[in-house]
């Protein structure tokens, strides 16, 4: 183990492991763009495409902020994947990786940072990676679901957890999804800090593993490729979005930054 300094905080890191933000976008540097009229936009050198924009009353970059206002009855779990999301090709993002391509030996962290800490009463922001939302275990996304965190694994599988009983209670400033094809996956949340540049910043809310030896069943288990999430697949994407099914409408979810880490 080695000590590394992350945003002024010393943390332990496995020997030999390095972490790099290989791609990021600060929306403060992005010109205004309305996804409701033009679906695609280059962000940090990667083309992102709006999906389900018809289910958003606002979906734009305005004054340096990505703003998404999902309509009611939208979701990104349990066979209902109609929430507005902004998606980018994973292979295009991986062009910025150390080797210039996806590396199965490494772990990747996709983080979405909001402009302020929020406490939505219903629905919430989404960040995820996927190859196919409609297939079990091929879409890992970290979300809030009102008073709960939600981790969806694609198709019909999801898990809710009362936010007040986790490491990050109350407000949420950022969400991350972590995936290493040889190791594990997890969902992280940060309460008030942006955790910008920190690969595993925030608190661990959800953890699972990629291992068919110790436990071949259970919600926390993800089967090894090729049957599970294979980010080398041409269909792989990273995305950010927001949803709102019913209850008290939060309104506009505002994002200031997206970043993708490569660790290992």
């Amino acid at each position: 183990m080695a000590l590394v300094l992350e945003n002024g905080i010393w943390k332990l890191q496995a020997a030999g492991a390095t972490s790099t933000v290989i791609w990021s976008v600060d929306f403060s540097a992005v010109s205004d763009h309305d996804f409701l009229s033009t679906a695609t936009l280059s962000l940090g050198g990667v083309t992102f495409t709006a999906e389900n924009s018809a289910n958003a009353s606002q979906f734009e970059v305005a004054s340096g902020v990505l703003k998404i206002d999902p309509n009611s009855l939208t979701a990104h779990s349990n066979n209902l994947y109609n929430a507005p999301v902004l998606k980018g090709s994973y292979s295009d993002l991986m062009a910025f990786a150390a080797s210039g391509a996806y590396d199965v030996e490494k772990t990747y962290v996709m983080r979405a940072i909001l402009t302020s800490a929020i406490n939505p009463a219903a629905g919430g922001p989404i960040v995820g990676i996927r190859t196919d939302s409609t297939t079990n275990n091929e879409d890992l996304s970290m979300q809030t679901s009102g008073a709960s965190y939600r981790f969806s694994k694609g198709a019909a599988r999801y898990q809710d957890r009362d936010r007040s009983l986790t490491a990050v209670t109350g407000t949420v400033r950022n969400l991350s999804v972590v995936y290493g094809q040889r190791s594990a996956f997890s969902g992280l949340a940060g309460a008030t800090d942006t955790n910008e540049g920190e690969p595993f910043g925030g608190g661990a809310i959800y953890a699972g593993y990629v291992d068919n030896v110790t436990n071949a069943t259970g919600y926390n288990w993800l089967s090894p490729p090729p049957s599970a999430l294979d980010l080398s697949d041409a269909s792989a994407q990273a995305y950010v979005g927001a949803w709102y099914y019913s209850g008290t409408d939060f309104g506009v979810f505002s994002f200031q930054r997206l970043e993708l880490h490569e660790v290992g």
Binding site: S77, N78, A156, Y158, D162, L165
Partner: protein
């Protein structure tokens, strides 16, 4: 009474209980049924089935817990 809400696909699951529901896990079952593990007070859990017609089958130990399924 505690109320725990979990929006599902085109349905809203509402669980009313004397002890707080602290989490749940959802996965698909046969014939369109949904299996739901409900965790109560982080102390015990039960598994219920939400059928495609929105009826709910739950074990006797959950008799004091009310589950409603509503559609928009």
């Amino acid at each position: 009474m505690y109320i725990f809400e979990s929006p599902m696909a085109n349905r809203l699951l509402t669980i009313t209980s004397l002890e707080p529901v602290t989490g749940l896990r959802v996965w698909e079952g046969d014939s369109g049924d949904m299996n739901v593990d409900v965790v109560v007070a982080d102390l015990w859990s039960f598994t219920m089935v939400i059928h495609s017609n929105d009826t709910v089958t739950k074990p006797a130990e959950a008799d004091d817990i009310t589950v409603t399924v509503t559609r928009p």
